[in-house]
């Protein structure tokens, strides 16, 4: 194991994070605050409680997930896309590092950053609504699993993308709708039966449901299923990354 390399890449990526931290924090914190003003205070006051939780508090886990997913994907995809774009990837490719080490360091750094952001957003939410976390351990577990899984997904997108449009299009076209339709702002059983079934094909539903359960003890689907699905996505992402490296896909000529 080339520990020095893992440490070097991780530190390099975290230094990039520190340089851009302010701009990475400002936008999600601002949009989260706006959601609270609009949905929590203005509209939320007219929406009845869901499962005994005020609407403002109900949307907190979904909003944290929303930021966590988008941040994980954009951090990780940019982290590996940029060296490809600028050509500095030559150094990584010529270094005595294994693919596992590359993934661990890049994905680890991206996940670290998005977890930090997720916690900052959670703290921001705490300013607007009274927070309660029934299962803190599970909350952290879902947070970490989701950050890692979607950082892996971002890493895959970063390797696959050969221009900036693709890099930005996937999160925009796929991830944003999935998150919005994943129960961030409503409970699944508020939907007509047909759409409830459709929704169950949306992987994000399981993440948000499980995450919300760790806060309030209420869930759309059972926690066991949420955890199983989250782990399954992680496994699929890992398999794709392994395949990419095995074939050298888009990294080496």
């Amino acid at each position: 194991m080339n520990i020095h390399a893992i440490r070097a890449i991780y530190a390099f990526e975290m230094a990039r994070t520190r340089r851009t931290l302010l701009q990475s924090i400002v936008s999600p914190v601002l949009s989260t605050s706006l959601y609270f003003v609009v949905f929590g205070a203005a509209i939320g006051s007219r929406i009845p409680e869901i499962g005994g939780i005020s609407y403002g508090a109900f949307i907190v886990p979904g909003l944290v997930m929303l930021s966590l997913l988008t941040q994980s994907i954009s951090n990780a995809s940019f982290g590996i896309y940029f060296p490809k774009f600028s050509g500095t990837i030559y150094e990584l490719l010529s270094a005595p590092v294994s693919y596992v080490e590359v993934v661990v360091s890049y994905v680890g750094a991206a996940a670290t950053k998005s977890i930090i952001l997720g916690l900052i957003i959670l703290a921001t939410a705490g300013l607007f609504v009274p927070l309660q976390i029934v299962h803190p351990f599970w909350m952290l577990l879902f947070l970490v699993l989701t950050a890692v899984t979607f950082s892996l997904l971002g890493f895959i997108i970063g390797i696959w993308a050969d221009n900036f449009e693709k890099l930005q299009l996937v999160p925009l076209l796929i991830i944003t709708p999935l998150t919005f339709l994943g129960g961030s702002f409503y409970s699944i059983d508020m939907l007509p039966p047909f759409w409830q079934t459709v929704t169950l094909f949306n992987p994000v539903v399981y993440l948000i449901s499980g995450f919300r359960w760790s806060f309030y003890g209420i869930a759309d689907v059972s926690v066991g299923l949420s955890l199983a699905m989250t782990t399954a996505f992680l496994a699929v992402s890992l398999a794709v990354v392994a395949w990419i490296f095995k074939t050298g896909y888009r990294l080496k000529n």
């Binding site: 080339n2 020095h4 390399a5 440490r7 070097a8 890449i9 530190a11 390099f12 230094a15 990039r16 340089r19 600028s86 050509g87 500095t88 030559y90 150094e91 990584l92 490719l93 010529s94 270094a95 005595p96 590092v97 294994s98 050298g248 080496k252 000529n253």
Partner: protein, 308 residues
């Protein structure tokens, strides 16, 4: 002489279907400066990139220090420092950070003393806290060398280190390469300047269209390739070359107005002076003279023709 890199039967066909390397066999000796000489598009960068692990070989085998570059890539790559042809650097990192990063990436524990030495050797020490984006082109190239040397490699690849580099920097680069060789580092550089190969190398390999045309000691090669011609425009046409000048193997043009003397560039100035003296003695006067040197392109043309 001990072999440090051994390339056997290496071929590379890019995804486009273009075959950039065709059955390359090449041994690099421990501690030498090897110049890979070839025109643009010959496959120099492809060959280097394959040895360094950036390009996957299509066929063949490469051993670095006895380690197979595919099976035993960690051991093989740890020995190598690569300075790429293009000036590809990060932008917002500092000089110090990026050089330290390279050392870690190659699996070495931090060693600020070594990084300092490398930066001083490359006249980058006073820039250590500057962001890379503020460096000039020449400094960036030195920075890439510093990164390549950060992990104390035994082999250094320099891909066209002096292309587009001013004379001073070129001299500095040559000095540096010699200093490295003195510490036992094997240096492989690519160039399309014959003068550079002449100046630097112990041995020279000529590559053209993905094939190694020849590998020779520099001195030997220069004698073969570095031909010069002296052409004299005569005052009066000659019917034939006087017997007294036979030793020079001169050529006389069909109209008898032009004499051509072919010699190699390795210090034959004396015989040229002797020739002019002998011409004078023979009463042959000339109006004009000029010398030409076979260009690298001519050399490749002749090599490729001879190879067929």
């Amino acid at each position: 002489m001990q072999t440090i890199i051994s390339v056997s039967n290496l071929s590379k066909t890019y995804a486009s279907g273009f075959q950039a390397l065709k059955g390359i066999n090449l041994d690099i000796r421990h501690g030498e400066i090897f110049a890979l000489l070839g025109p643009n598009g010959a496959g120099k960068t492809t060959l280097i990139s394959t040895i360094c692990g950036i390009v996957n070989p299509t066929e063949g085998q490469i051993l670095v220090g006895g380690h197979d570059i595919v099976r035993d890539y960690r051991a093989a790559r740890s020995m190598i420092g690569l300075v790429p042809q293009e000036l590809t650097t990060d932008a917002f990192e500092t000089v110090w950070a990026t050089v330290s990063f390279s050392r870690g990436l190659f699996g070495k524990p931090p060693n600020p003393d070594h990084i300092e030495k490398v930066l001083r050797d490359l006249s980058l020490w006073n820039k250590k806290d500057n962001k890379i984006i503020t460096l000039s082109g020449g400094m960036k190239r030195r920075l890439l060398i510093a990164k390549a040397l950060s992990h104390e490699p035994q082999i250094l690849f320099l891909d066209e280190p002096t292309a587009g580099v001013d004379v001073n920097l070129r001299r500095e680069m040559w000095e540096l390469v010699r200093a490295l060789r003195a510490t036992g580092v094997t240096v492989i550089l690519t160039t399309h300047y014959i003068e550079e190969a002449e100046e630097m190398a112990d041995r020279v390999g000529v590559i053209s269209k993905g094939e190694i045309m020849l590998v020779e000691d520099k001195a030997e090669l220069m004698r073969k390739l570095g031909r010069k011609q002296l052409t004299l425009q005569l005052e009066h046409a000659l019917a034939h070359i006087p017997a007294g000048l036979a030793a020079y193997h001169l050529d006389l043009s069909a109209d008898g107005c032009e004499l051509t003397y072919t010699y190699d560039s390795q210090g034959e100035r004396a015989s040229m002076v002797a020739l002019l003296g002998d011409l004078d003695d023979a009463g042959i006067a000339f109006k004009d003279l000029h010398t030409t040197q076979s260009s690298l392109e001519d050399i490749f043309v002749s090599l490729v023709r001879d190879g067929q």
